[in-house]
């Protein structure tokens, strides 16, 4: 029994089920991120926790109390909206204390709560302004302040950073993380940005088509994606997914494929149980950072194998250089040190960290567990 329990929750509009049997249990102080592409049901799920959407079947409980059908204001939650949803006719201070006022909290207490939160978020000088006079980042802070003032059991964030420009978004991301570490609050956070999901969360639920595809820590999601969707969705640039055939060479399973020039290529597979797949096709997933220049390879890995291939495009990104090459007939990306000497059209010797490679069953699209 967790702090916030979502058990067997479904949502249907008429005959179409948009959320299918979602089970998530969130511990107190946890930062759960719901991530997925548009229309995957993550915002619907958040709204169901908030009480803004009805629950078709299943239970949502907060602190052991089932809150199905309980009015949003009586669930002891606070929500930060994508558009911030600040009341335009009220000052920042009035915006932040509106909820307390509606809950009948006496004015001296409201003022104290307001002063505390404003100091925490460093927005004290803004309290008498109207939302229209604030910048995007300031509005974002006020919206968070409005949630914090209530001191709720659960914070709900609905894509709070998607309206900010790139630089401010990174700053606010850090700020939210700091705030969470300081206050140890329970947060459910919806985003479609997988970097936000990776950096902020203690656990991630990757959603797609109304299903929770995988629920786990950021490291689990990143290193051992449960299926092809999660593998492709998480990570930027995304994981190279290569259709290969498994063959036994010298008693060890190898992936047989072709390089840029069409010549056969044998990559030694780390997972021994893949020998059962000999003669069949699998999809081999290799993260770009697992294909590097030899100097940049992970020294702790027990399975670094060399591979010579022709580079088609290089993209220096400052901190790294990305090299695109053809592997198994499709464009694949390698992530090299910034000063790796590689140019387009050249042959280059890469080092592949096969320990990090994952294999998927092409039929079920699920990961083949070692």
């Amino acid at each position: 029994m967790g702090f916030l329990d979502i058990s067997n929750v479904t949502k249907s509009y008429g005959n179409t089920e948009v959320l299918h049997h979602v089970d998530i249990s969130v511990e107190e102080g946890e930062f759960l991120v719901l991530v997925g592409p548009s229309g995957c049901g993550k915002s619907t799920l958040l709204n169901m926790i908030a009480g803004l959407e009805s629950i078709t079947s299943g239970d949502v409980s907060i602190k052991g109390r089932v809150v199905n059908g309980v009015h949003p204001s009586k669930r002891n939650i606070a929500m930060v909206f994508q558009s911030y949803a600040l009341y335009p006719n009220m000052t920042v201070g009035q915006n932040m204390t509106f909820g307390l006022e509606m809950h009948g909290v006496p004015k001296p207490e409201r003022d104290k709560a307001l002063a505390d939160v404003a100091a925490l978020l460093q927005i004290t000088p803004l309290l008498d302004r109207k939302p229209g006079q604030l910048s995007g980042g300031q509005r974002q802070r006020v919206a968070m302040g409005r949630a914090l003032v209530r001191n709720p059991d659960v914070f709900l964030f609905d894509e709070p950073l998607s309206n900010l420009d790139a630089k401010l978004r990174v700053d606010m991301r850090t700020e939210i993380k700091k705030l969470h570490e300081k206050l140890k609050t329970t947060i459910v956070y919806v985003t479609h940005d997988q970097i936000e999901a990776m950096t902020l969360s203690t656990r991630i639920a990757v959603m797609y088509n109304g299903y929770v595809q995988q629920l786990g820590t950021p490291k689990e999601i990143y290193d051992t994606p449960t299926n092809l969707f999660v593998a492709g969705f998480m990570g930027s640039p995304s994981m190279n997914l290569l259709p290969v055939e498994v063959a036994m060479i010298d008693g060890a399973p190898h992936a047989v494929t072709t390089d840029a020039d069409g010549a056969p290529l044998h990559l030694r597979l780390h997972q021994q149980n893949l020998s059962e797949w000999a003669g069949r096709k699998i999809i081999l997933g290799i993260r770009p950072e697992a294909i590097t220049d030899p100097e940049g390879a992970d020294r702790a890995s027990s399975c670094i194998i060399p591979m010579t291939n022709r580079v088609s495009v290089t993209e220096p990104a400052g901190s790294d250089t990305f090299a695109t090459m053809t592997l198994a007939g499709q464009d694949s990306i390698a992530r090299m040190r910034a000063d790796a000497s590689v140019g387009p059209g050249e042959m280059f010797e890469f080092a592949i960290n096969m320990e990090k490679a994952v294999a998927f069953d092409p039929e079920t699209e699920r990961r083949i567990v070692p």
Partner: protein, 293 residues
């Protein structure tokens, strides 16, 4: 910036602009001509008008026609002037506009933020009421007012105008509120505000422009209405428009054109005043929501 290009740019602009302003001025003057005739003839003695020159400025300035129109002129059979009927109109238009605007705002709020099954259909039916000609409802309405005991009273007229105006006021507020972000309502719900608290604390404070539009529209229509006034409130309860008609149509004695002109201006004054005071919001309100920001 070179002097030559600046010069030509300004010169061509100036010629075109002068032309445009002259044309506009002519149109404006032409448009104001009837009002000029009314104003000028309302401050002339009757003898000057009967001499035949309607356009001439008064040789002798007199405000007697105004005083007469207001307080002593013969309206029907009573020599009361327009004053009691002006008050009748005021007692009709103010409650009707207030009730109608309030109900329209409430309807708009419900139709956009508390959607229910069939709400679009309901709104469509309400819109339909905007397009029903007045004449069609005269007899059923008279029967209804009779049943309710409101026939021939100002309260009855208020009811008729509220019923008729509610379609328009709902249309205005619904369209205005549909551009209002629903997330704000959701945030207020989570904050614990109830149905009327959200309406009163969140929606109403931002409804200024559309309220002005709605009030101007309703005020003008209700104040200027003749048909309902003549049908449902004749005699001492008649509104200004009906009284003005009675003043002008009196069949006895000489036609006092100067008094008629003064009376007509008096009848038009309140709507004129509403436009002057709130007019700039009118355009702003009509535009509101069309462009975000």
């Amino acid at each position: 910036m070179s002097a030559a290009t600046q010069e030509t740019a300004i010169r061509t602009g100036r010629i075109a602009r002068t032309f445009i302003y002259v044309v506009l001025l002519v149109f404006a003057l032409f448009y104001l001509l009837p009002f000029f005739v009314m104003l000028v003839n309302s401050v002339k003695p009757l003898s000057e008008i009967t001499e035949g020159n309607m356009m001439a400025l008064p040789k002798e300035l007199t405000f007697a026609p105004w005083a007469s129109a207001w307080s002593t002129a013969q309206i029907g059979v009573e020599p009361t002037g327009l004053r009691p009927y002006f008050l009748n109109s005021l007692f009709m238009v103010v409650p009707a506009v207030l009730i109608c605007t309030a109900l329209g705002a409430l309807n708009g709020y419900v139709l956009t933020k508390w959607r229910f099954r069939g709400d679009t259909l309901l709104f469509g039916l309400m819109l339909f009421s905007c397009f029903i000609p007045f004449q069609i409802v005269l007899i059923p309405m008279a029967r209804m007012l009779g049943i309710m005991g409101l026939a021939g009273s100002t309260a009855g007229l208020v009811l008729v105008h509220v019923v008729y105006g509610i379609g328009f006021s709902t249309l205005y507020f619904r369209n205005y509120y549909s551009a209002f972000p629903t997330e704000l309502v959701r945030a207020a719900m989570i904050d614990g505000a109830g149905f009327f608290q959200i309406f009163w604390r969140i929606m109403v404070p931002v409804s200024g422009p559309i309220t002005v539009v709605c009030v101007i529209w309703l005020f003008t229509n209700i104040w200027n209405d003749f048909l309902f006034g003549a049908s449902f409130a004749s005699g001492s309860k008649a509104p200004m428009t009906v009284a003005l008609n009675n003043l002008v149509q009196s069949s006895t004695g000489v036609k006092e054109y100067n008094v008629h002109f003064a009376g007509a201006i008096l009848a038009a004054l309140p709507t004129l005043l509403v436009y002057i005071v709130a007019g700039r919001y009118f355009v702003r309100g009509l535009m509101a929501g069309s462009v975000k920001g």
